[in-house]
């Protein structure tokens, strides 16, 4: 089995596990819907505020859901020594990371695509012709988010107080990614400023590349069976 196959097998395992248990799907869809609702209450009855906050709310909901998804992907492996088996299997640690990343990124992108029209409808933002580039922003933003979330979830997987530790550690790191994603989305929805959106998207891809390199290099020090 070469390394690429190993990556795909780990991703397949995680997705298959998810398809059978649906633990992440149920939790993230429900939780992000609740988050969108709560934020809608927080914005009050000002339609302008709602419209302008639509993309911000979408990304907050995605971020919160992403933490659950990443934590769960390691949590499930902690049972019955599955993580030990995974880590002792003769594949590079980075392949395990990339596999989990792939599965998480897939789930989060799907969630983003699902939430986009819901957020737009709930907050009264008109997507119009903006949706194809918005999908690119969602793909790049969730990639950056998943890179860090999966990395830190692996790091905290067998620590005490991991549930509270994971968001404390990872949210400061993902702030630049969230910021770039929100700005790029807002530029597309609000003014339809493609140039501005492109600038933020480029920055977002830059963050993705930097963190991809850092996380891949460091990952073998992160997990321990």
């Amino acid at each position: 089995m070469n390394d690429l196959q190993a990556v795909l097998w780990v991703a397949r395992k995680d997705l298959l596990q998810e398809a059978r248990s649906k633990a992440v799907t149920v939790a993230t869809v429900f939780f992000s819907a609740v988050t969108l609702g709560v934020l809608a209450f927080a914005f009050g009855e000002n339609p302008l505020l709602m419209r302008e906050g639509a993309m911000g709310a979408l990304w907050v909901a995605l971020a919160f859901a992403g933490v659950i998804s990443a934590a769960q992907s390691w949590q499930a492996d902690l049972e019955d020594g599955a993580l030990e088996a995974l880590l002792t299997s003769p594949v590079p640690r980075a392949a395990v990371y990339l596999g989990k990343l792939l599965a998480n990124w897939g789930l989060m992108t799907a969630l983003g695509v699902l939430l986009l029209p819901i957020a737009a409808g709930l907050y009264g933002a008109r997507l119009g012709a903006a949706w194809p580039p918005l999908l690119a922003v969602i793909a790049a933003g969730t990639l950056g988010f998943a890179l860090i979330a999966v990395f830190y979830a692996g790091l905290t997987a067998n620590l005490r107080a991991r549930e509270s530790l994971l968001p404390v550690l990872m949210f400061p790191v993902v702030v630049p990614i969230l910021l770039a994603a929100v700005r790029a989305s807002n530029a597309l929805v609000g003014s339809g400023d493609l140039g501005l959106a492109w600038a933020w998207l480029r920055l977002l891809v830059g963050f993705d590349l930097v963190y991809a390199v850092v996380c891949l290099v460091l990952f073998r020090f992160v997990v321990e069976a």
Binding site: I148, L155, L159, R160, A161, L165, V168, L169, P172, V173, V175, P176, L179, L203, V210, Y211, V214, C215, L218, F221, V222, E224
Partner: protein
Amino acid sequence: MIDAAARLRRPLWLRVYLGITLLLFLVAATFGLVFSPRDVNQGDLIRIMYAHVSVAWIGFVAVGLTAVFGALYLWRGKRRDDVLAVASAEMGLFFASLTIIGGMTYSRPTLNTFWTWDAKLTLTAIMVALMVGYFIVRGLVEDPVRRGRVSAVVAIVAAASLPFNYLAAEWFRTLHPAKSVALDGSGVTMDPTMLQVLLLNTAVAGMIYLGFMFDRVRLGRIEAELEAERAAGAVGGGAGGKEVVRV
């Protein structure tokens, strides 16, 4: 016990070093407060800059060095590198917090606001949060090897934002002034006297960093020995613990 008390005391050379540092700090402050010319636009407010910029530079260096020591620990696995990393991390958190406080002091009278969420300020605030996270993680892991590794990883990720921070004032429209001293050799856009005063203040801030590093590393090594001794005692059923591990 006598041996322990003697080891806890600061050695003479360190006390002398810290004394000299304090004196030089007073000299540098005097240069900044008295001998530096007034700025054309900012008047006397420019004097805050000497404290703010020097502290910020050393803060970034401290965070960067934390990551370097962390990387060395991951590479060689020597406890000593972890001790150095913690010491540098404490100074990094201290100097980065001072940077934010100094920046707010400087920005209120010159830019008419304490804070704005622009790229440079946000990245610095995030860096402080990351360094706080570094210590939270350390507090939660008991095994020294695992603790060293995990915190090294956290430090390296924190330092990965430093290049963005360095370039932020040029990449984005921001309230934070652009660099007046470029590291790429493209020159210095600053009055020569002011530059000298700034460099003097930076050198002293560096000496303060080093002084605290020496002291903290000294304490860190004692901590590490104590921890190893306790671990040995626990394994030996309480009766052991004779074996002292020198770090």
